[in-house]
Symmetry: C5
Subunit: 94 residues, 5 copies
Amino acid sequence: MKLVKVLGSITSTIKDSTLEGTKLLLVQAVDVDLKERDDFFVAVDTIGLGEGEIALIVTGSTAKRTDITKHKNVDAAIVAKVERIDLENSVIES
Amino acid sequence: MKLVKVLGSITSTIKDSTLEGTKLLLVQAVDVDLKERDDFFVAVDTIGLGEGEIALIVTGSTAKRTDITKHKNVDAAIVAKVERIDLENSVIES
Amino acid sequence: MKLVKVLGSITSTIKDSTLEGTKLLLVQAVDVDLKERDDFFVAVDTIGLGEGEIALIVTGSTAKRTDITKHKNVDAAIVAKVERIDLENSVIES
Amino acid sequence: MKLVKVLGSITSTIKDSTLEGTKLLLVQAVDVDLKERDDFFVAVDTIGLGEGEIALIVTGSTAKRTDITKHKNVDAAIVAKVERIDLENSVIES
Amino acid sequence: MKLVKVLGSITSTIKDSTLEGTKLLLVQAVDVDLKERDDFFVAVDTIGLGEGEIALIVTGSTAKRTDITKHKNVDAAIVAKVERIDLENSVIES
């Protein structure tokens, strides 16, 4: 999984029919210290997140396995909200 | 999914037989602010797009799941036209 | 597989239901000489590792094949602890 | 798919038995303007190409789907010769 | 497939049970001229290679398809020894 931050949402009216009703979020990869990396994804939100929240995304065929994304033609999905990262000498809360 | 801009189209007469009749577009990855990134893909157009339009592509095995790409030997497909991106403090319309 | 070092653990209460009970570790890719690379993953721990240990992760659909990750919506899993690397002229023990 | 240029061919006598009889080409990714990128692949030729030609490759599980690569343990295959790229203000013929 | 050079071997006693009996090699990606790239993999050896040899690896789900890796939770496997590369104006023997 990749650690990401939610930046915003995508509006699309012309799209593959399986994408109807999906909430597409624009996310940016972040480092351990939550610093933004130069890497972006559009992922289906399966758990209800908002801008600025830290999350985990799965990519590839796994993204089609959640209850929300079953039978949808997607290759990235948010599967967890990250509340806390415990490192050897520090704790990061988001 | 990846955010991309349509650059143009590919003509190929010598090709895998499953690619007959597919419209192959050359696309370039873009940033949140639609600035071009140094990353290119050739993707099957499943929704009818033209040069300069912003879109989402899926890559990998998902690209073979749309009604247009079923049974075709492709690994990238355009699945949505992006009309609008809502960020925390701005809206980008394309 | 990729050579990684375990940095810490992720806490998430809001998540895909298949992730319940999984131990999610934050790992960082390392070089042959165990020097840290600028690449991070969150992977399910299937063998019981702690911070600072060197491990191998699998990514993609393979990550769902272990006894621990079966039917879980994950795309990265730790599958081995690395104890020793034998190179042509040196041995690295971790 | 990725846009590539054929650089040459690979000779291998010791190999996985499913690779017997495959023609393995060394290819280099190219930009829209056919400028070489610092990215190389070895791909099975399924359409009969020679050095210097521009082609499309598929990677991942799709590479095993062509008539030529069925049941072969490969993860990259050339599926189309690119004859022409139409951009907004120019045409590139190869 | 990716062109790689074998650097050494990995010893792991604590691991996923499907990895028992596999020979795990550390490999480094190389360029057309066999110059080392800054990219490393750990791959299952399916053909019997030693340090310094040039090989092809497959990654992703294909890595689980060889006779040696069937039912093993791996995502990279060496499938060919590279003996010779024929380029337009040169031959590289390894």
